[in-house]
Symmetry: C2
Amino acid sequence: MARPSLREKLASSAVETLHASGFNGCSIQDITDAAGVPKGSFFNHFENKEALAIDALRRYLEGTRADLLFDMSKPPLERLRGHFTYLASRFEGCNFERGCLLGNFATEMTREYPRMREELRQVFETWCGGVESILREAQAVGDVDPRHDPGQLARFLVNAWEGVALRLKITRDRGPIDEFFNVTFKVLLK
Amino acid sequence: MARPSLREKLASSAVETLHASGFNGCSIQDITDAAGVPKGSFFNHFENKEALAIDALRRYLEGTRADLLFDMSKPPLERLRGHFTYLASRFEGCNFERGCLLGNFATEMTREYPRMREELRQVFETWCGGVESILREAQAVGDVDPRHDPGQLARFLVNAWEGVALRLKITRDRGPIDEFFNVTFKVLLK
């Protein structure tokens, strides 16, 4: 197996460091130290810390199994449940301490980093679009009330999920996740 | 009028600085500079930056008009709507750029600051308790389906609201707020 390039080593380690510590909670030095690469090498590979964070966001998204939203072998609401179940397992995997990288960056970076803000705008739009298409399907097969606006409902749900991710950092237990599932699938989408 | 004490000047200015820049996005020097007080005076008044942030959180909460939740002259759901309408006006007042200080601190501080985490745990619990009692009243007068668990619904709504606050930092328009109101009052609490 080929050794990972310095850039790869730096970028993949940065996802962990930025997720655990936050964008402003770690320095470039912290990131290069954690990656085991020389600090001086940073600017050979990334224009600045924001560019690294955008790269980290994309890598993080690759691990979110967005394909689960489009697995047409399953009924729409089961797919939606599988999607959030997978995301929940990731929160649980780090003891609920890290939250969602999207939400973390939205909180810390949107005011001062317009490129990150635009990146996040697109990421959330795509995510909401995927959830919306599932809700449309669910309406077509009679599983969701056809009078609801599926786009609005999708955006509401995605935002609610981000609120759950944030609350988990306080509770450090599954409570907010279980309540999201109960209210979403037993009340809202009934 | 008496001049505000140095401590008061520092603490009230810190709410703004911490809300705008985030806990890790500003230094003690930034905070004392913004307050127009000598940096050296900081530790005469606060044990550390976390203690200042906890003080800022309490001041922030004083501005959230929690009394609106308990104005018994209005029907319960109207009160709930008034509560979120007031919070929304605060987001709008800073061009949606700052989010909610509770959510911001939850995102940035819970991992490394156990006192802040405990403070946030209590604040969210109290807030959710207030919303829960409104929902119970609404159930008693027949405005909300009595089969729903009001505590669970309250926690879901508060988390969803925090997700809205975060999403506003990206969209910088009322969209997420309007959608929260539509889904909450026209779908969820029907």
